[in-house]
Symmetry: C2
Subunit: 464 residues, 2 copies
């Protein structure tokens, strides 16, 4: 038996749900297929619980400034770690419940619980039943990477999919992999009293391309817990715990947090039965502007693409895939200006083009250290740096990298400015309040003026 539908969406996570929102503007003849637990990666194990965890760590860490501010008794503060975890879980459950609203409203003719396998480019099989679909959206997400060699002590490994299920925290943890997630969770664990050692085979953390920003991050966070960079970690189970070696350093820890990244959930899809061309990771080759795979009626969206595993990108991709799944011809849409934030202290953020995408001979780098930024000094957080990449010829701002307090907000201001094609001169004509962190951006913009090939007589003023 086979059902015919206009669209089949595989995966009821964020990208699938955003795709669905577009599909339903045109048709109710769809199926949303999901074989796992409902609720998005973002709400269940990603953005949301991690931000709660990080917030508690930040609030607890803030006690280190109390003495300077005239607040007594910081030494009397302590942590009830099970209570911390319960707080994280309570809020997480709230967020998961919200995402379930979208699927709760679907009947069993629309929401299919099971794993889909491609029969051909237009046919899926789920639980023994076939679905012929006019268009198919693949939004199956990712699963954490745990190396094969670690499987013999899998119980000692925690992935971020599992961390927030724990009712208590281990005494010591090695964080293997210092991308955004490893670095932010590692710092939070450390601030919550866990003995943390961070290890990464790369010298740069949080995927930073900018050496100045990376150096500041490594030095600043490295004062809170050791960061072992540049050599791969070797793990070995011992009676005392897991021995972690990196170069000539070693430590024995209770648990290992595996934050080596996530791999696309593609194993069950049977993509070999389609006409699709696959890349080295097994992901269908697709257009980032249409989300279409080759010339097929198959679209991809969300983390499964691996490229930009961020909720707002999954939203964008889901919308584009969903739109094109119900419209003739694959319409190309402009990608949003790249924006990535690591919720460490200091915030780490990158916006627009990064150094590996730029020709350094044609750009000037606007740099502002946070030491003299008044508001940062008031916050006791004036260790930071902001770097802007600016076209020398016309002052166009192309990208930025930063590690600084309130970086998440500066990053939005910059992303919007870059997406609108603003130059250094345009930005200096905008209002900067006082005393605010945005003045660091103003400082960076002023600083780069002398390095540009053009100049304006009244930089901050616009003649009427």
């Amino acid at each position: 038996m086979s059902r015919e539908v206009d669209v089949a969406i595989i995966g009821a996570g964020s990208a699938g749900l955003f795709a669905l929102s577009q599909v339903r503007r045109k048709t109710e003849n769809f199926v949303l297929i999901d074989g796992g637990e409902l609720g998005t990666t973002c709400a269940r194990v990603g953005c949301m619980p991690s931000k709660v965890f990080i917030q508690v760590a930040a609030d607890y860490h803030r006690r280190t400034i109390f003495d300077r501010e005239g607040i007594n008794g910081a030494d009397s503060l302590g942590l009830d770690k099970p209570a911390v975890m319960e707080h994280v879980q309570d809020l997480r459950d709230t967020f998961v419940d919200r995402t379930l609203g979208a699927t709760d409203a679907l009947d069993e003719a629309h929401l299919i619980a099971g794993y889909a396998t491609f029969v051909d480019d237009h046919t899926l099989e789920v639980n023994g039943e076939q679905y012929k679909a006019g268009a198919i959206v693949i939004a199956t997400g990712t699963i954490p990477i745990v190396p094969e060699t670690w499987q013999s002590f899998r119980d000692d490994i925690i992935t971020t999919d599992e961390l927030f299920e724990h009712e208590d925290l281990p005494a010591s943890v090695a964080v293997i992999g210092l991308g955004s997630i490893g670095l932010e969770i590692g710092q939070a664990l450390s601030r919550l009293g866990v003995e943390v050692t961070g290890v990464d085979m790369l010298e740069n953390v949080a995927k930073l391309q900018d050496p100045v920003v990376n150096k500041l991050v490594v030095e600043t966070i490295g004062r809170e817990f050791p960061l072992w960079l540049g050599e791969a970690a070797q793990l070995e189970k011992t009676e005392q715990g897991i021995r972690v070696r990196s170069g000539d350093k070693e430590v024995i820890v209770e648990k290992v947090l595996a934050s080596l990244g996530r791999k696309p959930s593609l194993d069950r899809l049977g993509l070999g039965n389609t006409s699709l061309q696959l890349d080295a990771k097994g992901v269908p080759v697709f257009s980032p502007e249409t989300m279409q795979c080759g010339n097929s009626s198959i679209y991809v969206a969300g983390d499964v693409i691996v490229d930009r595993p961020l909720l707002h990108e999954a939203g964008h991709e889901g919308r584009v895939a969903g739109y094109n799944a119900v419209h003739q011809g694959a319409v190309a849409f402009r990608r949003k200006t790249a924006l990535a934030i690591t919720f460490c202290d200091p915030d780490i953020a990158t916006v627009g083009a990064q150094l590996d995408e730029l020709d350094e001979s044609t750009i000037a780098i606007a740099q502002m250290q946070f030491a003299p930024v008044g508001r940062a000094l008031i916050l006791g957080k004036n260790r930071g740096v902001l770097r802007l990449y600016v076209n020398k010829s016309d002052g166009l701002v192309l990208g930025a990298a930063m590690a600084c307090v309130k970086g998440e907000h500066l990053a939005h201001l910059l992303a919007w400015s870059i997406q609108q094609g603003m130059t250094v001169f345009d930005m200096l004509k905008m209002p900067f309040y006082h005393p605010v962190i945005e003045e660091a951006l103003q400082g960076a913009l002023y600083g780069v003026l002398s390095e540009l090939d053009i100049e304006e007589e009244t930089v901050e003023l616009e003649k009427l």
Copy 2:
């Protein structure tokens, strides 16, 4: 004896120094005249020390969320008030020192210590010496208003010019005047353990025009300390302290914080000797685009205008006045989009046009309550509201008012967007990260779509 100079600037505060920066691009034949203590209002008694004070109060207040987060021992925290004040003074001194850098570098031929009086439109007298100036910039700033009837117990009155000089805090304070400064200092005092009563003859605080935002602020801050609104305060000295009456309410307090606003420092200027037309407050009538007073060679800048007593506006006005003082013809410059922030918790901010400037029949109001905003919930600060004023016909965003966590950053994003003429549709195509407070703006923008006269097929997506 009389000296001839190209430009005389009266007042070495922020506006005067910004004017000077423009003047010195053209001439070194200037005098900067100041009769008071050097250092700006901003650094000495305004923006900077108040922000330090507010930061300590916010950090101390944060303990109220600790129990919920699993952090023990909040009850053991206490305040060393003299240490708090010392911290405020230490940082303030740092900021004052920086502003002195600009005047320290001037010799006594350029920096004149004394009060200037106009002899005529081109002539000033200072310390018995006359200066004939091609152009004159008035940037004399303001002084706090203290009613004449309070002078008999002046020692019990504290102005914000004096507050940060104190070595300790009083046990109880009535804050009279709940504009931005009164409200933010009142809340900080309350959080630092002072018994605070706030009084204002108006029903709206922080100059808010928006009734929804005002209501939220009054209710939220009113839970921390009483706000007596709508009737003027009557003060009377008693043996127990100052009796403050407002309508049928009364309280006896140790000190009164006078935050009734500031008045322009014009008394010594002898403006009657000029040809200038003066307004009801005695401020010369001027053009906000050129800062020129009538057709004279006299310009005004900064708080003395009373209209926009904000550092960044003083900076803008100072630059325009300084530019025009050394250029032929008064060049008109575009004013920046209005941006005002009150550093309370929640932040209060207004951007662009406010309701009293708008025709409500032609606008739709985009409103977002913060209760469901994920990041606000994580921060434990989801009591807030954001309101955007949008042109119904084309979706142009005209203004905004808000009271919410991180409002200062949302306000910048909105001010820049409004200054660039962005519509609701333009803004929805920008990146919004997750989970961030900026998503509240996204929510407001979505919410108003159905109230606009126009629609777009792909609201969040831009076709290539």
